[in-house]
Symmetry: D3
C-alpha cells in the first residue's frame, strides 16, 4: 500500500478489500504463559489492532494477563475503553476507584477462577495476585486501541520528567523522595 507507512490517520488505513485474507482476523498463542519475571511480576499479551488488522473499526481488543506469585498489574487506566476481566487460574485481588464526584470509592473484590468483573470506562483499576501461586486472566477492552496508562510510570517515569515540585505537592511527599522515585522510574 503506497505511503501507508508514511501517512497516518485516526485508526488505521484499510487493506485493499480484494487482498484481505482469513489471516488478517487471526492470532495465536493466547494460551502460552507470558514471562512474568520482572519487577511487577506480570505480563500482558495485548491483541489489539496493531496485532490483528481485522480489528480495525471493530471496537474490541483482548489481553491475556499472567501474574507471578504476588505479581500485579499496577494501578492504571485505559483512556479510551471499558474493560471486563475473567479469571482463568489462581486468585486476584482487583478493584477500581470512582471519580472525585463519586467520592473516590473503591470497588474491590477477591476473584477466583470463573469470576468476572467490570472496570468502567477510563477509571483507575488494578489487579494483584495475593497468592504464592501464579494467576491467569483474560480481559476484553471496548476499543481496538484503548490505551494503557500505568499511573506510577506516567507520573514518576515520564520522558522528560515532570517538575518534582508538582509531584511533591500532589502526593504530599518531600521533593527528595520524589526525585528518588523519578530515578527509579527513569
Amino acid at each position: 500500500m503506497p505511503y501507508t507507512r508514511l501517512m497516518f490517520v485516526n485508526g488505521k488505513f484499510c487493506k485493499n478489500p480484494k487482498l484481505v485474507t482469513p489471516e488478517d482476523f487471526f492470532s495465536s498463542g493466547f494460551n502460552i504463559p507470558g514471562n512474568t519475571n520482572n519487577q511487577l511480576g506480570f505480563s500482558a499479551n495485548v491483541l489489539n489492532v496493531d496485532r490483528i488488522p481485522g480489528l480495525n473499526t471493530q471496537g474490541l481488543s483482548v489481553i491475556r494477563l499472567d501474574f507471578a506469585p504476588f505479581g500485579q498489574v499496577p494501578p492504571h487506566t485505559h483512556p479510551r475503553a471499558s474493560e471486563i476481566i475473567v479469571v482463568d487460574q489462581g486468585t486476584l485481588y482487583i478493584g477500581f476507584v470512582t471519580s472525585d464526584e463519586d467520592g473516590n470509592r473503591l470497588f474491590a473484590k477477591i476473584l477466583r477462577p470463573g469470576d468476572v468483573y467490570v472496570f468502567p470506562f477510563g477509571l483507575i483499576h488494578f489487579q494483584f495476585n495475593p497468592n504464592p501461586t501464579p494467576a491467569v486472566a483474560f480481559t476484553a477492552l471496548s476499543s481496538q486501541y484503548g490505551g494503557f496508562i500505568t499511573i506510577a510510570d506516567a507520573l514518576f517515569g515520564s520522558n522528560p520528567a515532570i517538575n518534582p515540585v508538582v509531584l511533591a505537592k500532589a502526593f504530599q511527599l518531600d521533593t527528595k523522595t520524589v526525585k528518588q522515585l523519578q530515578q527509579k522510574f527513569a
Copy 2:
C-alpha cells in the same frame, strides 16, 4: 426504584449511584461447563447487561461457549456487535461470510487452544466442533446487549411463521420441505 420494572428506556435505567455495590460489577461461574446435551450440542453462558448491571453504558459482554463433540453454534449474527473469540479447549472450525457487495466470501479457519479470531460487526458467522471431544471458547462482544439471531430459527422458527412461499423461493426449496422445516423449528 419506582416503576423501573414498568418503564423502559433504550438500555437500562441506572441504579442510584449511592446504592451501587461491588456486586453490581461482578459475576461468577464462567469456569463451569455448560450443559451441551441438546440438539445443537452447545451452550452459551451470556454475561451481558441483563446479568451484570455494571455493564450498563460500558459497551461489552462476554460469553462462555461449550461445545459437545460435533456440536455447533449454528450460523448466526449479532445485529449490534462485533465479536472476538478465544479458544480455550479443543478445536473449532469457525468462519464468517462477508456481505453481497464483497462476494459472500467465507473467511474460515480451524482454531486450536490459544487461537483468537474476529467476527466483524453484524456479519453471519458460526462455530463448529469437528472433534469427538468437547471444546470451550470465550468470546467478547462490543456491546452490552449485542443480540443473538440464530438464522435457522429466525427464518424457519419465527413466531408466527413466515409465509412458506417466501422461504421456498428464497432457499430454492419446495414448499413442502419448507413446511416440514417450519414444523421442526416451531
Copy 3:
C-alpha cells in the same frame, strides 16, 4: 487524487473541497423501473456512497426496489443500518424477525401504496410481492454503506462453501440436500 485508488480508509477519502461540484451530490434514474427478469423477481437500484460521493459522512442511502409478479427480496439483513420502506405501487407482504432473546417474533404486514414500515437495525427482513402485478418501493438506510447480506446466498452460496455438515445440522436438513442447495447457489 494521488493514490486514492490504491489506498483505503474506513469510508472514503474526500474530494478536494475546492473541486467539489453540484454533481457530486446528484443522481438520476430513480424513476426508471429496474429489470426484474431474474430468479427472485426483483431488482434493487442502490444509491449509496459508491454511487453518490456526496453521501460520504452523511449516514444515508436510498434504494429503489422493483418487484415482478410474485417476486421478492429474500430474507436479508443490513449489518450496519436501519431501514424504512415506502410502497409506491402494488402490494407487498413484508416482515422482520426479532432476535432470539425476543423470541424470534415475526412482525409482518401487507403494505399498499403509501404505506410505510420500519425494519430495525440489523434484523432479518424480507419483502414479497403476493400479486400478479408489479410492485415498486423506495427505501432509505441509515448508513452511507449499510451492506446487504442475502441470507440464502451467504449461507449456501458462500465462496468457498461452508462445510455442509455445519449447515445440515443448523437447518436440520440431510447433507445431501445441503450439497444440492450449495450447487444451486454456487
Copy 4:
C-alpha cells in the same frame, strides 16, 4: 406506561417489549397529496418518531413534500440530520449553501422525476417548484427527530421577537422594514 407522559428523556421511553405490535412500525397515507393551499404553497407529511414509535433509536425519518405551482419549502435547516431527496413528480429547483469557511457556495440544480439529491448535515437548503404544475418529492433524514428550522420564521417570527436592531444590522435592512417583517411573521 406509568408517568411517561409526565417524564421526558433524550429521545423516547420505550414501550414494554412484550407489548410491541407490528403497528408500532407502521404508517400509511404517504401516497395522499398534502394540502398546499397556504402562503408558501407546500405541505410536509413528516414521519418521524412522533408518528412511528418503532423509529425510536433507528436514526431515520421520511417526509412527503407536496408543492403547489410555484410553491416552495423555504430556506431551512435540519439541525441534527442529513437529508436525501427523491423527486417523484414535477420539477424542483433545489440547493444548499455551504458554510462561511467554504465560501457560502451554492450547490443548486434543477431536479426532475427520478432525480436524487443530498443535503449535507445541518446546512441551509431549499426546494422550489418553478412550474405551474404541482410537484411531489420524498425525502429521508438521518435522524428519528432531525428538527426543522425555517430560517425566515425563526428569525422574523420568533416568540418573543428578536430585537429588531439585531436583525436590521444582520440583514442590512432598516429597522422599519424589519418590524414590518416581524409583523408578517408574528
Copy 5:
C-alpha cells in the same frame, strides 16, 4: 508527509506520532483584542483543528469574540456543534431560537461579565453588544470543526446567488428588495 496536502479525509490526517511536539497542542494570542473595525463590528479568533493540529479527534474548539460598541455576531448556526459562551468584558444581548416543532421560541438574555450561556446544537443564535463600550467573550464548541453559517450571508450572499424569487417568497419581501440585498452581500 507525502501527499497529505493533495489528499483529503473526513477530519485530518495525523502527524507521525514520533514527530509530534508540544507545539502541536499549543496556540497563543487569545488575549489580544481582535480588529472589530468592520460592518458588523465584531471579530472572531477561531482556534479549531485548522489552527491547533492537536485538536484532531478531540471534539473541541475555542473562539475569542470581540465586539465593537453595538457590534454583533449576526444570527448564525454551527451545523455540527453545540456552543457555550462566557462573557469576559462588557455586556451582550444573546439568544437562540428553537426549531419549528418547538414553536420558534426565542431564549434570550442580557449577559454580563462572568455570565455563561449555552447555545444548543445546530440552533440559530446571535450575540449583540447593546452598549457604547466594547465587549469580549470566549466560547467553546463541541467539535474540532463545527462550522460557521452566517444566515444573512448564506442566503443573500451565496456564490452563486439563489434565485431571488425563492428568497422573496421565503422572506415576504419583493423581488427588488431581495436583489438589492443580494447586491449588498455579494
Copy 6:
C-alpha cells in the same frame, strides 16, 4: 417531575419542553475568583450538567480555575473528556503524559495569558502556578459530565483504602510510607 429524583438514567432526565426557560441555559459568577486557601492552592468552578441543565446532551462543560501562588491542580484525568485550556491571568506550567505505548512522553509548556493548550482525551495532566502571584484559567471539556479523577486522592485516599501492598509495589515505596500517605489522604 414524578420520581426523577428517585430514578436515574445515563445522563439526565429532560425537563418538560413546555416548561423550559432561558434560565435553564444560564449560569453566572464565572468572573468571581474562587477560594484557593487550601492545601493544593486551587479552586475549580465546574459548570457541567449538574449546574446548567441546558447542557444535557450538548457535550460541553466549562470550568474556571483559580490558582494561589504556587498552587496546582494536581495530576488528574477526565475519564470521559478532552480538555482545552485558556490562560487568563498569570503563568502556568502545564503538561500531559502520553500512554505507555507512546512512551509516557511528557508534553509540557509554560503558558502565559492568552495561551491555549489541549489535553487529549483521558490522558493524565496537571497545571501548576510557578509564580508568587495568582493565576486564572478557563477550560472547556468535551462532555456534559466528563469526570475528574485526582490521581493521588484516588490511589491513596480511596474509600475504603486500597491494600497498601499493591500501592507499595506499584510506586516502589515501602509499605510504611504508603500507610502514612493513606493517612494523609484519608
